[in-house]
Subunit: 349 residues, 2 copies
């Protein structure tokens, strides 16, 4: 009997109360030793510390969050994690938030709008202290939820025209425009692009922005946009590019240069060209977006548009920490991290 009692006691996780009793102090003192040790006399601190160690006490943040109204959670919504650039964002963000003792809560939607609101509700129920959104096309319901959360909202990796919070990103339209201008400046006149379709529930909003920017610039230069092909759906990968370039070439066999909304697609284009005996860049020039590592490796090495996603994540993290510590950020509400062209060998010069 006594033995059972004992076992029951040992199997229950130690609480702050157990620590306080063992150390012979109040629970508040234990709490202080954990959250702000300097408030406590070294001798007391020592007693408490060894009680904690003896019991193997680990505080319960759910209880702490409830009492302090601070959860230490930062929510991050991404389209997908299996994309090196989004993973880099999460990575940079974590690096910074770790220091400040925040825990990232990641949700991803697979580019599915229906999933978005569901995920958002789940995140909100965890009471994050800030919410980071990536390329989400917020539904009305989602926007309402977001606003009523009453915490900083950061929209990153884009430059929305009607932002609902802080913005740290780059213009996806500008990416498209830059790609078009680059190709036009090289003297090409028969120019195309490959991206995903925009219909249905699953869509890559940011990719579509790049497509639009590209088309705009083409039109601005008085060039036709009939070789701009939307095919298949996000997430884009090698196979997408391979299939899409086939469609494009059927429509516009005389096409000289192509922009792929993602390096992943661009690589697929390169492969398919190799298969068809189309020489890149001699017969067809290719420019991508994202500066994925594979672009450096492939032959010919891929000319692409680069954005520092890891830095973007870090910058976002720093802004959040400032916002939460000081209530303001040194950044303005809208930061453009810019982009750059990485010239390699897939565009004819």
């Amino acid at each position: 009997m006594a033995k059972t009692e004992e076992r029951v006691k040992r199997s229950r996780r130690p609480t702050i109360r157990d620590v306080s009793q063992l150390a012979g102090v109040s629970r508040m003192t234990v709490s202080r030793v954990i959250s702000d040790p300097d408030l406590v006399l070294p001798a007391t601190r020592q007693k408490v510390a060894s009680a904690i160690a003896d019991l193997g006490y680990v505080p319960d943040r759910a209880a702490g969050s409830l009492a302090s109204r601070k959860t230490g959670f930062i929510a991050l919504m991404l389209p997908t994690l299996t994309n090196a650039n989004f993973a880099a964002v999460a990575h940079g963000l974590t690096e910074v938030l770790r220091e400040a003792n925040y825990q990232l809560l990641i949700a991803y939607t697979e580019y599915d709008m229906a999933e978005e609101e569901r995920q958002l509700r789940n995140l909100l129920a965890r009471r994050p202290e800030a919410i980071v959104l990536t390329g989400a096309t917020h539904s009305n319901a989602a926007s309402k939820l977001l606003l009523s959360a009453d915490v900083p909202i950061l929209e990153i990796a884009d430059l929305p025209s009607r932002p609902i919070g802080h913005v740290i990103g780059f213009s996806n339209q500008e990416v498209g425009r830059t790609a078009a201008r680059y190709l036009i400046d090289k003297g090409f006149t028969r120019i195309g692009a490959v991206g995903a379709t925009v219909e249905g529930e699953v869509l890559d909003h940011r990719g579509e922005e790049r497509m639009r920017g590209f088309e705009d610039e083409l039109r601005y230069a008085g060039l036709p946009t009939d070789a701009v092909v939307r095919h298949g759906k996000a997430p884009l990968s090698y196979d997408h590019g391979a299939a899409a370039i086939g469609v494009l070439l059927d429509k516009a066999p005389d096409c000289e240069a192509v922009f792929a909304v993602s390096d992943l697609s661009a690589v697929g284009v390169l492969m398919e060209c190799q298969r068809r005996g189309i020489s890149v860049p001699d017969q067809l020039s290719v420019i991508g977006f994202g500066d994925f590592e594979i672009g450096r490796i492939i032959n010919p090495p891929l000319t692409t548009i680069h954005v520092d996603f890891n830095g973007l994540g870090q910058r976002t993290g720093k802004t959040i920490v400032e916002l939460l510590k000081r209530g303001v950020s040194s950044e303005t509400g809208r930061v453009d991290v810019g982009l750059s062209i990485i010239e390699r060998k897939s565009v004819k010069t």
Copy 2:
């Protein structure tokens, strides 16, 4: 004045109490509508639902967790997220856990043992209902923490000899042995390998297992192991392979075949060979591990050892759900998901 009062009221997030008052029911009834609607009369349910909608109420899971002692969190510790295979594990896991309404809490250590315990403490403070570990070399302190957490522990992507919980994975040693046997069977006698060094705080435990298995098999066949090279540190990437093959070739210029502990390194090897004018597979055969997408793309396409990481994640998720719902799993405590060789063109036949 009254206006300010009002604003203050509106800015406070609605609680379950607000909902209950607006709906004219008790808080418990609201709670039931949310967690198990069938327990409530349709008419009442309707009243409550519209009160929830009107107020934009989102439950506070921290409070719920405290009361119910169920957080809905599953902890996942990874070496890094910027590795397609680990990302695939997280992905598969999320897919399954989402259905069952669990939220994944991801921590990663960058192969840093010092970071491991710190991260673990953070995770434990969130009271996860299960803990998933990947290739962690648990320190004593970490193991103690883990055990006293008193929740299911799943060790995945490995087959530890002295497991501390459920195991779902594959043998990294067997990967190495399989690679060696494959090369030996092809008739090679001068065989090497490239991996990371094992010294310091930063180490890739699982990669080292693959190296050991490889060496073992070489020895078993009576072959020398002097061309097995440990160079640089994790995480491995293209540059690692490029540098390491240089070291290997200096030591053993007559080497005919190489195993790279990661496809990423293998690709680096391929690149460096191209630079040096060494033809693969004619002069040097290469086999990798991980079946990264790039291996399909590169020229020559990479022969590699494949493991279904996404499936591994899904299987882990299913086991967790079973364990948590029914207290038992249909799987035994040790599951080997196996591996397969993907023969492409980088090994001479």
